[in-house]
Symmetry: C2
Amino acid sequence: MPQSMSKSSIPVFETILNALSANLDKAEAYSTVKKIDPSVLLVMRLAQDMFALTRQVQVACDQAKNGSARLAGIEPPKFEDTETTIAQLKERIAKTVAFLKGLDAKTIDASADREITFPLGQGKGQMRGDDYLNHFVLPNFYFHAAAAYAILRHAGVDIGKRDFLGGIPIKRI
Amino acid sequence: MPQSMSKSSIPVFETILNALSANLDKAEAYSTVKKIDPSVLLVMRLAQDMFALTRQVQVACDQAKNGSARLAGIEPPKFEDTETTIAQLKERIAKTVAFLKGLDAKTIDASADREITFPLGQGKGQMRGDDYLNHFVLPNFYFHAAAAYAILRHAGVDIGKRDFLGGIPIKRI
């Protein structure tokens, strides 16, 4: 059986997003222990011209949602960027994962050589389905998910790389 | 044509690693302009218990090299971790990309349902080939490549997300 477009997208996004949600729980617990308003974390960033934590989480969700929707041949729903608390960011992640679960795997599997057209800056981008997943959706998704993780680490939250990887199908022997 | 194991691994690693190499050039140029010894950058880290830049680059290379070699059914060569300059890190990346180019794409394509066994901590891990690529090699690779990028951004190097993505096969319309 070859690698499939649906297996290299949907469960990957779900695993990393669920891991991110668990890391936000640890961030909330850390803020409580330190007696710091958790909203301080949400506006943290690694550089002045990089997104803050809230935006990193929103964009990671959107890369997963929009990329998967386009591979499934449907118009992605728009989620408003209104989150101001960790609980709301976790809700955004849950809503994204629920959306991913509803997509048709067979249509995604048939998308490898379909041309995908998508909004890009002020214009549009076009890529073959497999290139779009391998060279655009996945690296963009990981970029923002890893940035969110790095902000939490930088802020002192006690998480490690396994917390980034999440619950992966591995057998330890 | 379905998604293939070789297309979702080799050119992805090459693109992101070549982009990382170009970002190291920009880091070197930045150090020169600021009249700072570039070795200051190489020991920077985002948290006390995260890897410094040098190690992030080495491990990103190794995830690509070791993961691809195992999917190609061969024992990965060991690269010594002796780099102390940006030029040497760029050499490590070039050596890794050259190694990837020499792997047999057909063997990698046939690896999706082969069990892969690999060193993990003090023991070993075992995963199906496609799971190994989707849930272990790619997220680990992106984790370290994105961390290297984030250290450069945090240090003030003038790069953006496009510099992370590298030369991708996109058509702007």
